[in-house]
Every structure is written in C-alpha cells, then in structure tokens.
C-alpha cells in the first residue's frame, strides 16, 4: 500500500525511508527520494515563510491520481508522498516523495514525475511571505512544459 499524507506536522526523511525499505521487498534495488524546502531567498528577495492551503478530500484525491498514474507508467514497489500545509517558516521542509523500484531508472523517473505533477495538478495554494509583501505562487510555464513532457515520454525503462 502506498502512503499519501497531507499534514501540518513536519516529516522525517529517515522515518519514511525506513518505512519504505520495510515494505519494498526482496527485489528492491533503488530508492529515489526528493525533499522540497522553503527557500529563504529568491534572488535578492528575502523569503520569510510560506502559507500552504488545501481542500480536504480533494487534495488527497489529486495526489492519489498522480500516484496511480506513476504506477501505470513504471514498475514500482512502494511510493510515499507527504505534503505539508499551514504556515511554514523559511528553510522548512514542504514535501517528500519516496519511490522504491527494482531498478534505478524507474525510481528516478517516477519520483521526478510525481514532483512535476504535484506542481501543476495537486490541489494546493501557496502564498510566499516576502520582505516585499505577500504573493500567491502560480505554476510557471516551465512547470507546465515539464508536465506536458511526460505525455510523450517513454514509460517503463526496465530492461
């Protein structure tokens, strides 16, 4: 069973990695993880924090859809996605993705795919608290390009 959590509390990479290796099984040879952090600066602009809002129920469903899509595309043993909400100070952890697979290409691709789709398809709203004011963040053109890139990409690269 994959794990999807939306929570205010921080997460611990070590705990989630351990939980992943506990269930990934005998064929697991590759674990790719990604942690997104609140940047403390964006160029010259100082960022003091992030406000993250979600829509209970719909947000979880949007992540489930992304995880199911990843499972359709690659051969994966286990997936964990944890996304925080609420008020996050600069430097805080925002999001964690852990993917276990037999081979590294599938683990890498699925981890990156999930992060890319979280940017454009997951139901969250982010407000950056900057020294110059508050601003609601939108997906960038680059985010959409990366999402669209997956549509033509090869699926399982297992050999």
């Amino acid at each position: 069973m994959d794990v999807i959590r939306v929570q205010a509390e921080d997460f611990t990479l070590a705990t989630e990695y351990k939980a992943c290796t506990d269930v990934a099984g005998r064929d697991c040879g590759a674990i790719a993880t990604f942690v997104g952090l609140v940047r403390q600066a964006d160029g010259d602009t100082q960022v003091t924090g992030l406000h993250l809002e979600h829509y209970p129920g719909m947000t979880e469903a949007s992540i489930e859809k992304i995880v199911e899509d990843a499972r359709q595309r690659w051969s994966l043993q286990h997936i964990r996605v944890i996304h925080r909400i609420g008020e996050l100070s600069a430097g805080s952890q925002i999001v964690l993705v852990v993917v276990a697979s037999t081979h590294r290409p599938d683990a890498f691709a699925a981890c990156e795919f999930i992060m890319d789709l979280l940017k454009t398809e997951a139901v969250f709203w982010k407000k950056e608290i900057r020294s110059t004011g508050e601003i609601w963040i939108k997906s960038t053109a680059g985010d959409y390009d990366r999402r669209d890139g997956w549509e033509n990409a090869a699926t399982s690269s297992m050999k």
Partner: protein, 84 residues
C-alpha cells in the same frame, strides 16, 4: 434548495469569506449559480471569482462544462493550484 459555496486562497482573501450558503433552484446550472453569487456578494465583489483561471469543483470534482446542481452540493471556487 441550498448549496454550499467555498472559496480558497486568493479568492477567500479577495472576497473576505471562505464559505457561504446559497439558495438556488433545483438543477441550477453555471449561469444561475453565478447570478445567485452576484446577488449575494455584489457584482463588483464577485469579479475575482469569474476570472478565466478560476476552476469550479462540484463535490470535489472539477467541472469544466455546465452542471446541474442538487440539494446539498458543495461548490468550490479554486484559483490556480500549485503544490510541491
């Protein structure tokens, strides 16, 4: 009949409200919903809700076309989403 309307993020800030109850007729569609919203919040106030990049979700599912509301439906106005 009654439906529940939710506003998130920038919309919640712009409108100064996160949730309202609206009275609409059975099977009300998109235009009747927006009319009811204008009556409730005022035409000027409702402008941010009508922007092109705002999505409507009925019972937590995005509806891009028209729809027919039922009693107790939960309608959400979603400004552009981004996670990760």
């Amino acid at each position: 009949m009654k439906v529940n309307v939710l506003f998130f993020a920038s919309l919640k800030e712009d409108l100064g409200v996160s949730e309202i109850e609206l009275d609409v007729s059975m099977l009300a569609g998109r235009s009747e919903l927006l009319s009811a919203l204008k009556n409730e919040l005022g035409t000027e106030c409702v402008a941010p809700v009508l922007e092109e990049n705002v999505s409507i979700a009925i019972n937590r599912r995005i509806e891009k076309g028209d729809f027919a509301l039922k009693d107790g439906d939960e309608i959400a106005f979603l400004p552009p989403i981004t996670g990760g």
